[in-house]
């Protein structure tokens, strides 16, 4: 087992564009779940529609900037459509509808019926050329220290990705420190009480769902741009649950929680996966017990377990306050 290279690869994964995209998506989910208390179990759908909104626009000859705007609008529209029937009801109805919608949307996108638009299971490729044409770094050049290097192409996506993440941190910070954010938190605590204080709870929840969705849509676009590829099966339900672990791990309802959560999670997720794969190959009894494919699934079992254990034993995550978490919700 080559510990050095596992570690280096882990660090690279942790600072890479995928982590930046996860962090951004988690910022959106944190606004919905952490601050507004909305159980959106289909966050990956916002990423999907954002990415596809962009890719399809470019595919049909539109410029990338228009694609980005359309992607954001489509993600907000999805939030509106999912919120409209559910946000007047108990929290469970949003959860049920979003988890169902995320899978249904993926099925529709990959169906032959939607193929003229989405190109079915094959997805859409090569829509971000104009993004990479702005890249000031020679794409094939290597940047970094020692063996910790990335290509100029990757570096460009990383810089843009993390800049957007920082921008959204700033926006969410500004929102949550404002009276708007106070109403959002009040709704998380008690909807009826907030209603009795003359606040239009439904409208606020819808806004939170739509803004969080738009942020998720942007995250989906960054993933798609990084790969120059959107395929429906890149947006599996597991991403939503990875994002939940990130949000809770970092600290739900904290400004920097999504960033910290994404970085820590990605490092652990990668390292554990690399360890499992290596152990499967090198350690006899592990190899006997697990197939290579199964070794790759262990990390996902741990995602689920992590979600439960964090929620039960450390609901405040890394950055949240213990005192706040101990206050009974209702």
């Amino acid at each position: 087992m080559d510990w050095g290279s596992i570690f280096i690869d882990g660090i690279l994964a942790t600072i890479g564009p995928v982590t930046a995209a996860y962090a951004i998506s988690a910022i959106g989910l944190n606004l919905q779940f952490g601050y507004a208390g909305l159980l959106n179990f289909g966050h990956v759908a916002f990423m999907l529609v954002g990415a596809y909104g962009m890719a399809i626009t470019v595919d049909f000859g539109g410029p990338l900037w228009l694609g980005i705007i359309i992607g954001i609008l489509v993600a907000m529209l999805l939030g509106f459509l999912l919120g409209l029937p559910t946000l007047r009801l108990r929290a469970d109805y949003l959860a049920i509808t979003t988890i169902a919608a995320a899978e249904a949307i993926r099925l529709v996108v990959r169906s032959s019926w939607a193929e003229p638009l989405t190109n079915g299971v094959f997805g859409i490729q090569g829509f971000a050329d104009s993004f990479f044409s702005l890249n000031p770094f020679p794409p094939a050049e290597l940047y970094g220290i020692g063996s910790l290097v990335v290509t100029g192409r990757k570096l460009w996506v990383m810089i843009v990705g993390w800049t957007i993440a920082a921008l959204f941190v700033f926006v969410v910070h500004r929102l949550m420190k404002s009276p708007w954010g106070r109403v959002i938190k009040a709704i998380r605590e008690d909807e009826d009480a907030t209603t009795s204080l003359g606040k239009n709870v439904f409208a606020y929840k819808l806004q939170a769902l739509m803004i969080g969705g738009a942020i998720g849509g942007v995250a989906g676009m960054i993933l798609a741009i990084d790969q120059q590829n959107v395929t429906p099966d890149a947006y599996l339900p597991q991403i939503t649950f990875i994002l939940y672990v990130i949000v809770i791990l970092g600290g739900a309802g904290t400004i920097l929680g999504p960033i910290v959560g994404a970085v820590v999670f990605q490092f652990l997720f990668f390292t554990i996966d690399a360890l499992m794969v290596n152990a499967q190959a090198d350690i006899g009894w592990v190899g006997d017990l697990l197939t290579p494919a199964a070794a790759g699934q262990v990390k996902l079992v741990l995602v689920g377990l992590g979600m439960m254990v964090l929620m039960v034993f450390r609901p405040q995550g890394i950055l949240g306050s213990r005192e706040e978490a101990l206050i009974d919700e209702r």
Binding site: V171, R174, L175, S178, P179, W180, G181, R182, V183, K185, A186, R188, E189, D190, D192, A193, T194, T195, S196, L197, G198, K199, N200, V201, Q207, I211, E323, E324, I327, D328, E329
Partner: protein, 275 residues
């Protein structure tokens, strides 16, 4: 009560007209399944009074509160606040129009500070809109609201807790906070659902003082209560409900002698023993 009081000439009978009603309900009905929870022909609440709503468990008091404040929708009927119809008006709109309620079980916003609990209730803060929140320019309003909140918290003896999480308050303090928070909205009518429930006797007295204080400050108070002694002490007018209907109303002295009321309460005590 002096003879010059505007309610002095009002007859103590159900559905009676009052000289200056702030709240009027007509033919208000709500049933759950087969149970008629509220069935009120006519009810008026006189402005600037403390009106208490009493009745045995299941009499429909809380349901009536929910209906009047828009938290529940009646099967039938209409009601007005200051002559403005409230049928089909959302609960948050009712609150903005000046009728604010509290809840039987306190609803403090636990993971907000006491001060934030107060500030949430303030009206017309442009920072509560998305655009305003992003662009700023709400700090002056916020400062004014904070000053008013501090004043109210002082009045209710909570100013030293301003920066604590509301979830850390005692039960009695939460009741006080909820009342102070309702006042942040500058309401015309305050609807208190069992403000005295679960509060120790020492605090009860202070709550009662606050309630009469509200009336003296020009508000109309409607509150639900079980304890006849409390009702006698502070009410200007008492409305008695049983099985969804108003069975009696009048000044507290008259109600205390009312046969129907005594029966209803005896019924309640029997009922309570059974459950």
């Amino acid at each position: 009560m002096s003879d010059s009081h505007p309610m002095a000439d009002v007859a103590p009978e159900p559905g009676v007209r009052k000289p200056d009603p702030v709240l009027v309900a007509n033919n208000l009905q709500r049933s759950f399944g087969g149970l008629q929870a509220v069935d009120i022909d006519h009810l008026e609440v006189q402005r600037h009074t403390v009106t208490s709503l009493i009745g045995p468990n299941g009499a429909g008091k809380t349901t009536l509160f929910n209906l009047l404040t828009g938290f529940d929708t009646p099967d039938f009927g209409e009601w007005h606040l200051n002559g403005g119809p409230l049928v089909g008006i959302a609960a948050f709109q009712v609150a903005r129009r000046g009728m604010v309620r509290t809840f039987q079980l306190t609803r403090s916003l636990a993971r907000l500070t006491v001060m934030d609990n107060m500030l949430v209730a303030a009206k017309d803060n442009k920072g509560e809109g998305l655009w305003g929140a992003l662009t700023g320019g709400w700090h002056a309003t916020e400062q004014a609201n904070e000053d008013r909140a501090t004043e109210l918290l002082e009045r209710f003896g909570l100013e030293h807790m301003a920066n604590e999480f509301a979830g850390g308050l005692s039960g009695g303090q939460r009741k006080l906070l909820e009342m102070a928070r309702a006042l942040m909205m500058n309401p015309e009518v305050v609807m208190l659902d069992e403000p005295m429930a679960g509060v120790n006797p020492a605090l009860t007295q202070s709550l009662l003082t606050h309630i009469t204080g509200l009336r003296d400050a020009g508000k109309t108070v409607v509150f639900v209560e079980h304890d006849m002694d409390v009702v006698q002490e502070i009410s200007d007018w008492v409305v008695v409900m049983a099985e969804g209907r108003v069975i009696a109303e009048g000044p507290p002295e008259a109600i205390a002698k009312n046969r129907a009321v005594i029966d209803a309460y005896l019924g309640e005590h029997h009922g309570e023993a059974a459950t």
